[in-house]
Amino acid sequence: MDAIFHAEELNVNYERTPVLWDVSFSIPKGLLVGIVGPNGAGKSSLLKAALGLVKPLSGKIEFLQQPISRVRQKIAYVPQRQSVDWDFPITALQVVLMGRYGKMGWFGRPRRADREAAKKALEVVGMASYADRQISELSGGQQQRLFLARAFVQNPDIFLMDEPFTGVDLTTEKEIIELLKKQKQEGKTIFIVHHDLPTVEEYFDWVMLLNTRLIAYGPTSEIFQAANLAKTFGKMPTVFDEAASLCAKKMSGYL
């Protein structure tokens, strides 16, 4: 099985606390994967470490068996909505156009084809009429669709989405999932950090249960059940907790 997303003994610390500990997995392509776990469990950190935004303490994490610098063009990252300033003076179309910036090189300018692609992406997410709107005027659901359009315009093989459904109305959520399922049918792989447990079985083919450690991962029908969920959302076993945080402190020289 050719893994599209692969990690080996990944350890990531945030200052003196461990956020990811000895995480290893291998995910095949063409799936809609949910990353689930309690708050502060390292889910966002997993995406950030994969994209090279955060440097892991040890271990490795790769897409398509290659380091991130070589496969940037194939990955679309949809960060959490609050990571962006929505008062920024920019229109919806311009935000979507940003998805193409990675392909333009240092001195390139957006061309007609890029603009057409951006408009098309807006149509696909149902935001065509908002193209020239200032982004501060958009609702939560519309902002999320905008981010999705920006991801589409990159024409990626892999989507990494961090909590795309927080603060989004149900209709938008359903529509976005439908769009993503269509992408999956075209052979793309999609990873979503998800916080809403009741919808996991409906949305995702595979699920990764993360609570600093990777508790389990695999097909949802097998993995997503009571015992694993108890381990994910229950209290961390105390010995592990202490040992892991001791490890983080030692590595950063605080103890």
């Binding site: 994209l51 090279g52 990252y77 990571s83 920019i90 910036y101 001195f107 390139g108 957006p110 200032q134």
Partner: protein
């Protein structure tokens, strides 16, 4: 005798337009001191207005404030080096630009080291760096550069003693800022809006941050003679805040911010002339321009506030 010797606020503009007309139709006359003031200050306002939006959007304005203080150290080091190494002029353009480069590098490097390596919170890092480096700058100036007047004028500038030659540096900076912002517009825009996406797309955000700081330092030095290091901050921040009240597209803002800056300059200089002629008060024109920016902000804010009220009233009717 200046052609504006008898003007009040309104007749100032009339005389100015008249003279512009004469100038354009070939009656070359020497420029009056007020016009030189407007010219130089406008050049400063335009160069500041081009990078101001990016500074505000990247939350780097206090870093720019920090920079405007550490420039003293940069310039004094450059002046010392120029004096020691090649016996150069204290304040020619190369020394100043070198000084701004040193200042930008020092400030950015020290602040980053404190935040990343020493894990100190950002506000304290900025504060520690600029007070420390400024104190160092003053010490160097006092010990080695006593004859060179880097004192009060550096801090406050003197907009009332400008020559036409003072327009050279700000004009050069309009050029430099313009070219760099035009070529790298999309990188600056993306890095300011969504830093993590910029990084994932492979844009080196750190490089652009340093570049922005260097442009700021150079612009500050260009503004230094005219308005001084503290007031340059008002030209970097104020016009953007005003323009943002009525404009909401970055590309348009890059035009409107300098325009607002130039408008404040014209109004400020006219006001200064008015106060001199009508009330006999000889006041600092640089300070008046800054005050004008504040007044314009308040004025525009009030207009928009009432506009909203009237719109709501109209809708309910």
């Amino acid at each position: 005798m200046t052609p504006y010797w008898d003007c009040n606020f309104f007749t100032f503009f009339i005389v100015m337009i008249q003279r512009a007309f004469f100038f354009l139709t070939g009656h070359a006359e020497a420029l009056a001191s007020d016009e030189i003031q407007i010219g130089v200050l406008s050049a400063v306002a335009i160069s500041c207005g081009m990078i101001g939006p990016f500074l505000v959007l990247n939350r780097m304005t206090m870093l720019a404030n920090s920079l405007s203080h550490t420039i003293l150290l940069g310039i004094s080091l450059a002046a010392l080096a120029a004096g020691l190494l090649w016996g150069g002029e204290w304040f020619d353009i190369t020394t100043l630009l070198a000084g701004s480069f040193i200042a930008a590098l020092l400030t950015a490097f020290c602040t980053e080291t404190l935040t990343r390596f020493f894990r100190l919170q950002e506000d304290a890092s900025i504060g520690l760096v600029f007070t420390g480096l400024f104190a160092l700058g003053i010490t160097i100036v006092t010990l080695y550069l006593r004859d060179v007047h880097l004192g009060v004028e550096a801090v406050m500038g003197n907009a009332d003693a400008l020559q036409l030659s003072d327009i050279r540096l700000p004009a050069l900076l309009i050029g430099i800022n313009g070219v760099i912002l035009f070529v790298f517009f999309k990188q600056f825009q993306l890095a300011s809006f969504d830093r993590s996406l910029a990084q994932t797309l492979g844009i080196p955000v750190g490089v652009f941050r340093y570049l922005l700081l260097f442009l700021t330092a150079a612009t500050c030095i260009g503004a230094f003679r005219a308005v001084g290091v503290i007031l340059v901050l008002s030209l970097l921040t104020g016009p953007y805040l005003i323009a943002r009240l009525f404009c909401c597209r970055l590309t348009a803002l890059l035009v409107w911010t300098p325009v607002v800056g130039v408008a404040s300059v014209c109004i400020g200089v006219a006001l200064s002339r008015h106060l001199l002629n009508v009330h006999g008060l000889a006041l600092s024109t640089g300070g008046i321009v800054t005050g004008t920016i504040a007044l314009i902000y308040i004025f525009v804010k009030i207009i928009f506030h009432f506009r909203k009220k009237w719109q709501r009233a109209l809708f309910s009717v």
